[in-house]
Amino acid sequence: MEQFIAVFNENLFFIYLLIFTIILGFEVISKVPTILHTPLMSGANAISGVVLIGAILLIRTAGSDEYLRLILGLLGIILGTINIVGGFKVTDRMLDMFKKKAK
């Protein structure tokens, strides 16, 4: 408990930030029309590929001979990049449907 209180008090603004991020996440989505559920899901999925950043940092900081780290990191980069590139592109394709016709 002591520890928890300390963490809380020390990271107060961070906790605010976390909570606000969550609220914001809810807020931006909450009034979405049904038809956008799938593209939105796909877009959010692409964003979650942000984990790629971690993979890059992993390799950049890995020693040039730490092959396990490097290989795992490489795999991570490949997976993350597929997620990001494929995710944004496929979202874009889905949204292509909503192009307004010339009226």
Binding site: T34, L36, G43, N45, G49, R60, I82, N83, V85, F88
Partner: protein
């Protein structure tokens, strides 16, 4: 100092592109822009992460670029080649890869600890285990979801009896192991066992869920990937990963809930799942065992709104539902968007000669929009969507191709020649002539069950949001 500043600022910008990107994704008019914005922010952040100077970092750019090239190529090609109808699978597998990536990172960071070559604080350990757990579940669950959607795996092949209980037990095992590992550490074998069980749990979690519930699960797994990315962010002290991950996690969660609401189900219900694989059973099947396919109001609204030509085929059901004004309202909306709308009136539609004329006149449908059978049959092959509103016998292809049928020889509206057919009626029951209608099992046909007036007014509501 300054590089930190640049990094911080760049990540702040990245986060903001995610926030606004998601926000713009929430409205049809701006969704595309939103996606682009987020994609831009992502690229920008990745570039900054790549090239920001780091004190004595080995960099290993070769490894990195190899990974980026391979991943980028695969991602791009798959996204381009996938069929529209296979999108959900793709999203699922992509999401699984994201989860796998997070799990990989966590493993890489945790492994030295469990091998005893590195010290870690409790908090770090717990966060790492969390990232690992969630990432793994997301990975294996998404894989199974992909397999199911792609038709590689059948629900029945993976669903065990009492699956709900099995899952519950597994969940507790996984959580328990995770807590033990975080707070009391353990040997590296235990760590590997944890990984194994968690992977199996992800599989098992998705196994009993099927049919129309799949998108919900995918969305749920998606928000998990977000959370695991955030947890991984803690390891690397990256605000971008933390905030971005949490954002996706939150958005994904609310999206999951919204999707459940749209299906009139609760999330719990979906997860415990199994029962109620969304109405599929209520639908009849024809003698060849073909089943009729349904369509959602939303999908139908989009299809109508973005098509060039729509033909309504009113029948007795329109009269029973007294839906003439509602169909007219829908027509007006479509008309405004430049859709060419016509009505095809079959001579014997309804229960008295001219029944449809009376109704449509009441709704003030202008005469030039009414086509009689011959005129209609001329234009039907070039029609994007035919909406059959409570008609049945008059659109029955048996009249043309099954000599045994009691209506064989009667000229009917050849709606099946159109590009798409959507039938609005309350059930699979036959019309006046009492015979089954093969149209409902046609590949082009989708059914939307319910009272025509209700369905049509839901449709107008949906079209108005477009």
């Amino acid at each position: 100092m300054e590089t930190t500043f640049i990094l911080n600022l760049s990540y702040l910008i990245g986060v903001l592109t995610f926030v606004f990107g998601l926000r713009l994704l929430g409205s049809p008019d701006t969704a595309r822009k939103g996606n682009m914005l987020a994609a831009f922010g992502m690229t920008f952040s990745v570039l900054v992460t790549l090239f920001i100077p780091m004190d004595d970092a080995p960099n290993n750019y070769l490894w990195i670029f190899t990974g980026l090239m391979i991943g980028g190529l695969i991602g791009w090609r798959t996204a381009i080649k996938v069929k529209m109808t296979d999108m959900p699978q793709l999203v699922s597998i992509l999401n699984g890869l994201g989860g796998a990536c997070a799990a990989l990172l966590a493993t890489t960071e945790l492994l030295p600890y469990f091998q005893g070559t590195l010290e870690m604080s409790n908090v770090q350990l717990a966060i790492g285990i969390f990232a690992l757990l969630i990432g793994l579940v997301s990975f294996s669950g998404s894989l199974l979801a992909y397999g199911k959607l792609q038709g590689l795996i059948k629900d029945s092949q993976v669903k065990l009896p009492k699956h709900g209980i099995i899952n519950l037990v597994m969940l507790f095992t996984v959580l328990g192991l995770g807590i033990v590992l975080s707070f009391f550490s353990g040997p590296s074998t235990m760590f590997f066992i944890f990984i194994g069980i968690t992977l199996i749990y992800g599989f098992s979690f998705v196994a009993p869920i099927g049919g129309a519930d799949m998108p919900v699960v995918i969305s749920l797994l998606n928000s998990m990937t977000g959370l695991s990315a955030a947890a991984a962010g803690f390891i690397y002290q990256s605000q971008l990963m933390i905030v971005g991950g949490i954002l996706v996690g939150a958005a994904g969660t609310i999206l999951t809930i919204l999707m459940c609401q749209a299906m009139n189900r609760s999330l719990l219900n979906v997860i415990i799942g199994g029962f109620g694989s969304a109405g599929g059973a209520a639908i009849g099947s024809d003698s060849d065992g073909k089943t009729a396919k349904t369509i959602s109001v939303t999908d139908m609204a989009i299809q109508l709104f973005y098509s060039q030509s729509v033909v309504f085929v009113p029948g007795y059901g329109l009269a029973v539902a007294q839906a003439q004004k509602t169909v007219k309202e829908l027509e007006d909306l479509l008309d405004k968007n430049g859709v060419d709308v016509k009505y095809a009136i079959h001579p014997v539609a309804g229960r008295m000669p001219g029944h449809m004329n009376v109704l449509l006149a009441e709704a003030n449908v202008p005469y030039p929009k009414l086509l009689d059978m011959d005129e209609a049959n001329d234009i039907l092959p070039n029609t994007d969507v035919v909406v059959v509103v409570g008609a049945n016998d008059v659109v029955n292809p048996a009249a043309e191709d099954s000599p045994g049928s009691s209506i064989y020889g009667m000229p009917v509206l050849q709606v099946w020649k159109a590009k798409n057919v959507i039938v609005l009626k309350r059930s699979m029951s036959p019309g006046y002539a009492g015979i089954q209608n093969p149209l409902f099992f046609n590949d082009k046909t989708k059914m939307l069950f319910g009272d025509a007036k209700h369905t049509l007014s839901e449709l107008t509501k949906e079209v108005k949001t477009l």
